[in-house]
Symmetry: C2
Subunit: 238 residues, 2 copies
């Protein structure tokens, strides 16, 4: 895992959804001494309750927070179960092909583009996003090749305005969710104050792809899972 | 100028601000037979009156139109005269260093990212943007290297979901504004139904960078300029 020790003087814009991965990342950046600005997006996701956890994490870490209303995107980025209430969120394992229904077209590129704009506006050195290795099979905008190409593009887009070596940082790019849970436990993250469930009900459903992945990660990490799930787990592999 | 003859069967998402360049581009794409979806953005720009001209052009060309409310970005992409009423829009020539005040951090990358998301959602083959050679000196997100890097990144971000050869098309990338005015005249564009002025008053101010460029382009193209300007031109070079 790239934890970038010794980078304590950086100014970083952190994309934080309110999910487990991004909140552990925010704690990691804070532990490294980064001057952090947190940015979160309402994009019409059905699980917009995640955003309250992003706000809480930023507050806890004493970071400035921008909650950006991009809810108009729900009418543009159609065809995803996350933004269209007429498409069911599938049960199953996070790596199943059925999870393609949860891909929001170009979502991470849009988030990173806005976060990059903020980084340029405030003179930050880096933009951080919590994509991880478990995301790679289904979500193309979480893969190493995308992150690298995005960084190249972002530097060109802001040549003469951004830091010439503006970093697009993905500290969990080669980590598993199990690694992230273990790191979060080391960093003292309050996991109960993170939200994963795509269904966005009052409690985690326990059976959608991201709930299945969350449960599995706690179990494999040997870390107590404080989450209150609605339904018992169906199977380890969906 | 890349006019891409013979590409009549494409489905294209066209980023149209309501300015002269993007409206000429929309006419060009329509003349090539592209099935066009127009997308425009309210990003808190002081000259949001340009958007009415984008709506009108889409209607005239019988294209579907998305007007996307990204006005929350004005609180994020700070430091530009276009989105901050406390920063004056400079007078002068479009290529003057003073025009750096009109750069909105990462704006075109954000617009292209959202347009790419729409292209993926509707299965379009291409995204088109009307950047031109006159933009290159000041605006890094209008340069050829940026457009090429963006295309590489956009394909990776949507691998398996977008057309593998998704095009980021910039038909005016090597054109001057003079070329664009000439082409618009050939295509029968109603130039009075386009908006350039950054100040966004009731009439074009006539002296801001983009007004100066507009006037100069009509004069050099030998095309009648139907624009009603508020003030006489100060000088050809600001």
């Amino acid at each position: 895992m790239a934890t970038n020790p010794g980078r304590g003087s950086r100014s970083t814009v952190a994309v934080v959804s309110g999910g487990l991965d991004s909140i552990v990342m925010a704690h990691l950046l804070a532990s490294q001494g980064d001057a952090m600005t947190v940015i979160s997006f309402n994009y019409g996701q059905r699980h917009d309750r995640e955003l309250a956890f992003a706000v809480r994490a930023a507050d806890h870490l004493d970071a400035r927070h921008h909650l950006v209303d991009l809810s108009a995107l729900a009418g543009v980025l159609t065809g995803s179960a996350l933004t269209d209430v007429n498409i069911d969120v599938p049960d199953g394992h996070y790596r199943d092909e059925s999870m393609r229904a949860t891909v929001v077209p170009n979502r991470n590129a849009i988030f990173l583009s806005v976060a990059t704009g903020l980084a340029v506006a405030i003179g930050a050195d880096a933009v951080a996003i919590a994509v991880h290795a478990g995301d790679h099979p289904i979500y193309p905008d979480c893969r190493p090749a995308f992150i690298a190409a995005f960084e190249t593009q972002a530097r060109l887009a802001n040549e003469g305005f951004a830091h010439p070596d503006l970093q697009i940082e993905a500290p969990f790019l080669t980590s598993t969710k199990v690694d992230i849970v273990r790191l979060g436990a080391e960093l003292g993250v309050d996991f109960a104050a993170t939200w994963s469930c795509y269904r966005g009900g009052d409690r985690h459903c326990g059976t959608c792809g991201t709930c299945a992945e969350r449960r599995e990660a706690f179990r494999e990490a040997g870390v107590l899972d404080p989450t209150s799930y609605e339904r018992p787990i169906m199977s380890d592999r969906g």
